[in-house]
Structure formats: C-alpha cells, structure tokens
C-alpha cells in the first residue's frame, strides 16, 4: 500500500525551479498493478525514486506499507529498500564483473538474516535462468539481463515491485517475456508500479496513470475484459514465437479500440 499526499519534489537550477513533482496525491492499494505513462521529463522516475525510498520529497508525505518515510532515518530507508521494495531499471544495472548468481546475491548481503545463496538460486529459477547462473552480464542477451535484474529485485520477497521502463531497451518480443514475468509476480500478490512509454504495455496494468509536468493528469482503470484479452494475446504471441519460430509480434495485432482512441 502506497499513499502520497501533496507530494512535491523541486530542483533548484540557478534562478528557476524545476517542479519534477507538483502536489501529487496518490493511493495505490495493496496488490494493485499500476502503470505510469507520460512524456519525457514529466516526473515519472522522480515519483518512482520517492516511492522506492531512494529519494526524499521536498514537501508532502509518503507512506509505504504503513510507514511514513518523511521522518525515517537513512538506515530504516535502506532496510525498507532491502526488504519490501524491488527495483527494476531500464538499463538493467547489473554489476558487470560478476555472474548472474552473484548479482542476485547482492541484496542478500545487506539483509539482517544470516547469509545463504538459496533464495538467489530460487529467484533465478523463477525467471527461468537457473542454467545461466554462472554467466556474466556480457555473456547474456538484454532480455536475460533484465530477467536477472528481476530476480535480484525479488530475491528478498518484497511486497512492492517498482519497474522504471523495464522493457525500454528490449525488442517487443523480449519485452513480452519480461511482462509475462511481471504478470506472474502480480498474480502472486505483489504490488507492481511500472513506468512505460509503450501504450500496449501500459494497458496490461489494472490501472493507468498519466503524468504531465509533475502532476497526475489522468487516472483510469483498465477494463478487466480487455485486459484479459490482451494478456491472452501476449501469451499466444509468446508461444507462437517459441513453438513455430515464426515471428508474429503482438504489436502487429489490431489494438483494442480503447487504445486506438488515444
């Protein structure tokens, strides 16, 4: 559960002030899958960073899983990032000199529990990469790298997954693969917030938020029936690629009327 009220983030650039976030009110209930869209510079990443306890707002309050982060110590914020939040980035952000497994192990180094590599192996298995555990990022495809990054994000079994343009650097087919994993995680009860520029990915969420100049300008629920249809399409596209090896990307399918309207 995330609750933001009157949330603002300002950057002072000499004389002028950049309002990256401007009095944002937002409530995301537990287990919801939300997508955020908006043009470049509209404040999407800033919003994610504050929800992810990586940054503090200039004013306003944020509550994550019942804990207000404004007054929280750095140490508690780190703990929250470690235990309750998983972050996935557009550029994967893997540590290049170490193996996939070692990358997934990183969050485990900073837990209070005693160290064990078992959760990392399980997380890699979850994203279907247990065979790639010993590979370095340079020896893997972009999609595989992003799957490793997802494994790293979920290794401590967080309740919240924050993904900032996770498919931005991937082709449509690989993006679909990543989205299928995200859907699975959501079905398992995780709250998911996903930033994207691609409309056909945004509509896969239960709820779509559009931002502009640091404000929320639209907040709509995606029709459940349409969503199911798209998900089915995704799955079919995925399988056709795997089984028949014939390229048939989902984006070439006719878009649902709701999306064409935009």
């Amino acid at each position: 559960m995330i609750r933001a009220s009157q949330l603002s983030k300002h950057y002072h650039m000499g004389e002028s002030v950049v309002r990256a976030l401007d009095c944002v009110d937002l409530h995301i209930p537990h287990g919801q899958f939300v997508s955020i869209i908006g043009s470049s510079g509209s404040g999407k990443s800033t919003m994610m960073h504050i929800m992810g306890c990586l940054d503090r707002p200039t004013s306003g309050t944020v509550e994550i899983h019942g804990q207000t982060i404004n007054s929280m110590s750095e140490k508690r914020m780190a703990l929250l990032r470690n235990n309750e939040i998983g972050f996935v980035f557009q550029t994967f952000n893997l540590i290049s000199r170490t193996s996939a497994l070692d990358n997934v192990l990183v969050p485990l180094m900073y837990t209070r529990r005693s160290f064990s590599s078992k959760p990392a192996i399980e997380a890699l298995d979850r994203v279907g990469l247990s065979k790639r555990a010993k590979h370095k990022p340079s020896e893997m495809s972009g999609g595989e790298c992003q799957r490793v990054a997802i494994a790293r994000a979920i290794v401590n079994k967080p309740k919240l997954l924050l993904a900032d343009e996770p498919t931005g650097n991937l082709d449509t087919h690989t993006g679909t693969q990543i989205m299928n994993i995200v859907h699975e995680l959501h079905e398992d009860g995780m709250t998911v917030v996903l930033v994207t520029h691609e409309m056909d990915i945004a509509v896969q969420a239960e709820r779509m938020i559009e931002m502009k100049d640091g404000k929320i300008v639209a907040d709509t629920a995606v029709d459940a029936a349409r969503r199911a249809e798209i998900l089915k399409l995704n799955q079919d596209a995925h399988q056709s690629l795997f089984r028949k090896k014939s390229l048939h990307p989902p984006s070439s399918k006719p878009l649902p009327p709701q999306m064409e309207a935009r």
Partner: protein, 403 residues
Amino acid sequence: MFHFQLIITAIRGLQQNLLRSILATIGVIIGVGAVVSAVSILQGAQRDVLDQFESLGADQLIIVDGKREHGGVTSSVQALVPDDAEKIQQENTELVLRVSPQYQGGGQIKYYQQNVNGFILGVTETYAPMNSYKVDTGRFISREDVRGSTMVTVLGYGVAQDLFGSLPPVGKNVKINGKSFIVIGVMEKKGTLGFLNVDEQAIIPLSTAMARMFGQKYLSMLNVQCTSAAAIPACLEGINQTLRVSHRIRSGTKDDFTIYTQEQMKQRFAQVAKIFGVVLYSIAGISLLVGAIGIMNIMLVSVTERTREIGVRLAVGARRFDILKQFLIEASIISLFGGALGVVAGWAMANFLGEFTQVIKTYTPPIIIVASLIMAIFVGVVSGIYPAIRAARLDPVQALRYE
C-alpha cells in the same frame, strides 16, 4: 554484518582492474620493504657495535688524543707518551689495575715467499691479560722485551696460519716491514676485539714499534683497566690529575687528551646511530607515504568508475556504512597483502645486502614484522577512508543516473 561474502566482493572489485591493483600493491611492498630493511640494517649495526663495546669491559677506559678547536675546525693534539702509562699506574695504585699503552701501524709481514698485510701493534706485557687474550703456543711479550726493545713478535692466529700453514712458527724468523723478527708465540683465535680483527695483526714490543719500527714519539692510545666498574669515576678523576700534571697543563686550559668510558662510547655511537636512523627512516617513511598515495589514487578512480554499482547497491538496501566498509576492505586487502610481501621483500633485501657486502650485519626483530603489518593496515585504512567516504556519501539517485 561481516561475513565472508564481503571479502569475496572486495577481492572481485580488485580483480576488475587487476593491473591497477597490482601496481598499488607494489607501492605498498616497496614502502613496507624499505621500512623493514632499514630497521634490519640499523638494528644489525647497533647490535654488532654494542657487542664490540661489551667486549671492551665496563671497567675499562680509553685515553686518546685531545681535541682542539681552532676557527671552527677540530684537530687532534698528540700528547700521550709511554711515560704517561707508568705515571698513571704508579700514582693511582688503589684505582688502576693495569695500563696498556698502544701504538698501531700497518705493514707487511713476510716469511720467505709468504707474505701478509696486517696491523702491527706495539704493546706492553699488560695487553694480553687486560683483554683476556691468551697465547696459543709460545709466550707473550714480556716486560724485558719492552725494556730492551727486542726484535720479537707474537703473531695473530690468522697471520700465523697464512704464513706458516701447518708448520710450527715459534722460533722462526719473519720480516716485518723489512726488519727481522723472531716469532716467540702465536695468539689464540679471537676474531674482533675493540673493532679490530686481532687475528690479522702482529704484536711487537711497544718500544720496538715506536723507536725502531715507526720512529714515533706519541702513542695511538692508552687502555686503562680500573679495579672495578664502580671505581670508574674516581679513576677518571685520578688519571685526569696525573696527565694534567705530567703534561704541564695550567689550570683553566683544556686537556690535551680525551678519556672515554664504555658508557660514553656507547652514547657517542648512539648519537651517530640516531643520525643514520633519521635519514634511513625518513627514506623508508617517504616510500610508505608514496605507497599510501598509490592506494588512495586507485581507490578514488575505482569509486568514480563504480558510481553506478554503488547506486545499485544502495538501491537494493545497502546502508552507507556497508559501502564505506566495502571500499575500506578493498584498501585494507591491498595494504595487508602488500605489507606481508613487503616484510618478506625487506627481510630478503637486508639479508642480500648483508651477504653481498659482508660488512652490513642485519637483524630483523620479530616485533617489526608485527609492527609492519599493523602499519600496513593503518596505511590502508587511512588512505582508503577518504575514497570510501566519497563512495558512501553518493546520492543513490544521482549514482544510478551516472554515465
């Protein structure tokens, strides 16, 4: 949380740019190596010299030429004569056990085709008992030899070996600086005595050395053995009195001789050793500083290079302290590893110099090994702390955006 994983992470971090890590390590090896070899050489020299002083005996005094300062230049004043020895003995019978006047020169000792270059030492009968130096075969110089300036010699063990091999030398004729001497005895094997290798000298009567051999009036030095170590202060007083009277020095004028006790010699040596120590340790210290700067340099580069990694680590829950720790551990690994190799390198270097020169004696005190390792860790932490703080202070969002 300090588990094995942290060390592995640090080692991986260092492996990422292996050459750079190795270069930084070499810096530490040189620094610590310089310290260890400097200490070893200095300690070795100190031990060696102090041993020599001990062999002089705490109840002994050495009287040498006096010093005169003239326009900032110090020169020595020759004034000690054989008669002084007699007077010191006679006027201080309660305090002085023995007096050994000595004249030392150099020369060639020859027996047919065999010849040796060595010291020629002119002494009286007191020399041997004073130094607990005994004859191996034959007899030592007697009072009559000195009185009659006889042409006799007692050879050092090494000289006898070189000239005669397995033949018995006693009774044979040798030539010392062209003059004929009868060998009356051979000294026992002794090694060094008062900084000289006495095995390589020929001993002749004092009067023979001064009058017939070198044609000199003044002694090289006078060695005095007091009745006990406790009698030293009174002995100094008495000898001073005797010599001033005999040399007719007016009150208010400086002595024309210098008396050293074993203690004073040690102090003088300690002063010299200190100067050498300051120079040697400064060089070693600078090497160590350069090593420390090397570590700091690679750590700073490493932090900049890994800004994104630091951002990722912070994003997945690392506390600032965890980041600080990671970089400190990396710096410590370089310094500890370099320190350990440096101890070995320094020790090997000192020993090599010892073997090579045959003059430098080395001694590596065990404590210096421990101290060097502690020092190395200290260097690592001190030079790693600033880069580590820089890493830990990074803003997670900025770090993640860093290109």
